[in-house]
């Protein structure tokens, strides 16, 4: 379908800005494996500190890129499936807030005033603009969502007996999760941290801020993942040359995510004091519940791909795998999505280790954790974002892909890199190698008394994998920016390949309505999180003043000065 020029431009800005910033994010990814492997024994390189770089890497790759993409893809999905353009003023306001917020946070990070990592755990204090900037980025994404809700409500009134398109349902579920979970982090940032970082309030309850962060922090990973799931269900089977095995399975999966994405955040806090064991155990078990929709998806997608392989003439039990269009440059998006799925098999399974209550003691905060989540967020999430960004850019500008063969191999190269990188990190994690640490200064520095030779091989694997990932990233940038800069050859459109359904299914009203699911979501959330919040309020005996990362003495607030 055709989109008006202003809306097209808004979507293109939302694709271009994060990919541009991603160059900084990926550069710092490479730098980290270099520091960690002990190739350099320095606290900073090219005037950027290790922890400053780690903050940039986390915030840009995990928050800026993912949020911008989710909004851009959401605009296109809603417009394409409901045949209605998003409201120009709302979309403009949304993109301005997001870009403005990102610039504020980027300034604070690049000036070295916010080297607190992307979790910004209090009582480490960042510049107020870092908090305000991330808050505005989030609020900007809400504005786009509110507009889609209006469009959808109108559409549903006219089409009450028609199934909501699966992609639209997924988008709305995803942004509902996002809206609810970001309420907690908005409260943390706007009510607790900004006044505290300005010196208006002297202290903050550290356990409470951590719990509010993780209310948001784990749901965040589903916010990253669901756009990829939408592509797996609605686009991938078509690219493979087949049909979606079951659409209803997709609906069930999305609604299960709606119920269970948020009330599991405490599984990041198993080591935290001040939260009771019962709550931790409950949320651990709920985390296994959220694995179920992923199991369902794995089956449905595999069945859809098998059907595609057989349609292409496959015989026997496994031959269908080799009939799929892995290296076909006309359906390069297939390569991006399938590699993500392969990585996600390992990402999902290692995630179950993290979720498993006391087993988490083996790996919590070790290099295992980034090893795991690079198989998820740097796997299906990242690859789907890269692939779809270039796909949408090419369509919305009417330009041909620059170097299509290179574009086709990028996801394969990336996948090889991630597999080596994550093997190194997870192995290191099992040997106690800490994450988020400039290992090159001490633990991987033969001249330090803290030197640990067991982590040489693991960090070297990280370096090798990270180097390959960087090379793949570089190739992607060449393709992406090359496409942007090339000449227009076609009319700008947005046209997603949409999978037909293999089974003809009757519409099941319960899987095409939001209200009962939202009520159930609220009830589960309330039961899982009220006790956790109460615990942090009751068991945290002392509030903390702010600290800068460079100084063991607290920052003296203006209140105390008076």
């Amino acid at each position: 379908m055709h989109l008006s020029k202003p809306i097209r431009n808004i979507i293109l800005i939302e694709l271009f800005v994060p990919v541009l910033l991603l160059t900084i994010g990926i550069y710092h990814g490479l730098m980290q494996v270099i520091y960690r492997a002990g190739v350099i024994h320095q606290s900073s390189f090219a005037k950027l500190d290790y922890y400053q770089g780690l903050t940039l890497h986390g915030v840009i790759n995990a928050i800026v890129l993912t949020t911008f993409f989710a909004v851009a893809f959401g605009h296109a999905t809603i417009a394409f499936h409901l045949k209605k353009e998003p409201n120009y003023r709302a979309s403009m306001l949304s993109v301005c807030l997001m870009v403005g917020g990102t610039l504020m946070a980027a300034w604070a990070m690049l000036m070295g005033k916010a080297s607190v990592l992307y979790t910004f755990y209090a009582p480490l204090k960042a510049h107020p603009l870092f908090y305000l900037g991330t808050a505005l980025l989030i609020v900007g994404s809400w504005v786009a969502f509110f507009d889609w809700v209006t469009i959808y409500s109108k559409w549903k009134k006219d089409n009450s007996e028609v199934n909501t398109p699966l992609a639209v349902l997924g988008t709305l579920v995803n942004f509902t999760i996002w809206f609810v979970c970001t309420l907690a982090v908005a409260y943390e940032v706007l009510v607790l941290l900004i006044p505290w970082s300005m010196g208006w309030t002297p202290t903050v309850n550290v356990s409470l801020t951590r719990t509010l962060f993780w209310f948001f922090g784990h749901a965040l990973v589903y916010f990253w993942l669901l756009p990829a799931y939408i592509m797996f269900y609605t686009i991938l089977p078509k690219l493979a040359g087949g049909k979606l095995y079951s659409e209803l399975a997709g609906r069930i999966a999305f609604f299960l995510f709606l119920l269970l994405s948020i009330p599991i955040g405490v599984h990041h806090q198993f080591g935290d004091p001040a939260i009771g064991r019962g709550i931790k155990l409950t949320q651990s078990i709920l985390t296994f519940g959220v694995a179920v929709p992923s199991f369902i998806t794995a089956f449905t997608i595999a069945a859809s791909l098998e059907y595609a392989g057989r349609k292409r003439g496959a015989k026997g039990l496994w031959n269908w795998v080799w009939k799929l269009p892995f290296f076909d440059k006309n359906v390069y998006l297939f390569g991006y999505l399938i590699n993500g799925l392969i990585l996600f098999i390992f990402g999902g399974l290692t995630g179950l280790v993290n979720a498993s209550y006391s087993l988490n003691n083996v790996i919590h905060n070790t290099a295992w954790v980034p090893g795991h989540f690079h198989l998820t967020v740097a796997g299906p999430v990242f690859l789907a974002i890269l692939g779809m960004s270039i796909f949408m850019t090419s369509q919305l500008t009417g330009k041909k892909i620059f170097l299509p063969k290179i574009n086709t191999i990028v996801p394969y190269l990336w996948t090889v890199g991630v597999l080596i990188f994550s093997t190194g990190l997870m192995w290191g994690g099992l040997l106690g190698e800490p994450r988020r640490t400039n290992l090159g200064l001490t633990y991987l520095n033969p001249e330090s008394e803290l030197y640990n030779p067991y982590w040489v091989i693991t960090t070297m694997l990280g370096l090798a994998g990270g180097g390959i990932m960087f090379a793949a990233g570089l190739l992607y940038f060449i393709v992406f920016f090359g496409t942007f800069l090339s000449k227009r050859t076609a009319e700008p459109v947005i046209d997603f390949p949409i999978s037909e359904v293999y089974h003809t299914e009757k519409r099941v009203p319960i899987f095409d309505t939001f209200r009962p699911w939202l009520v159930a979501m609220g009830v589960i959330l309330f039961m899982a999180y009220v006790p956790a919040i109460m615990d942090t309020l009751n068991n945290n005996g002392k509030k903390a003043p702010p600290y800068l990362p460079t100084d063991p003495a607290p920052v003296i607030s203006t209140i105390e000065k008076k």
């Binding site: 755990y121 064991r277 006391s358 905060n365 068991n539």
Partner: protein
């Protein structure tokens, strides 16, 4: 509705999840693996010390701060059971004894606790694994298990 393969696969997914959850309880029950206790906080935890409860039982009260643990070296006889208490006097710190699967967070105003038995002599490194500022990579302590050597 869903066909028979899909119903089977949902059933299998539920069964596999149930198996994992069984393992989780098995680890808690038979292997005594658990997460930190949740204790009420009081100011005495900010006083770093080692105390011997009886012949084979010790309590170590750790205070984490930017960028060291106090006590930085602890001597424990082989075969002792040790309660570790961890709190922080400033930012959030990590407390990881990898060989013993001790994994706690040090948070100001709260105290984490776990119990470990040391059967083998050795130098057990305590590593801070939560980013706590520019000196984070220097933050390590030791538990030396050998004393008395008889």
């Amino acid at each position: 509705m869903l066909d028979k393969f899909e119903r089977t696969v949902i059933g299998v997914a539920l069964l596999v999840s149930a198996l994992f959850i069984f393992c989780l309880f098995y680890a808690m029950g038979a292997k005594k693996g658990n997460v930190t206790e949740c204790l009420p906080y009081d100011k005495s935890y900010e006083d770093a010390r080692v105390s011997q409860v009886d012949k084979n039982t010790y309590q170590v009260f750790y205070v984490a701060r930017m960028w060291n643990f106090e006590p930085s070296v602890v001597y424990i006889p082989v075969g002792s059971e040790v309660d570790f208490f961890v709190t922080s006097k400033d930012v959030v710190h990590g407390f990881d004894i990898s060989e013993k699967n001790v994994n706690l967070m040090g948070v100001q105003g709260a105290v984490a606790k776990t119990t470990v038995k040391f059967d083998k002599p050795g130098v057990y490194k305590v590593t801070c694994h939560e980013f706590c500022g520019t000196g984070h990579q220097n933050m390590q302590a030791e538990v030396i298990v050998n004393y008395p050597s008889k």
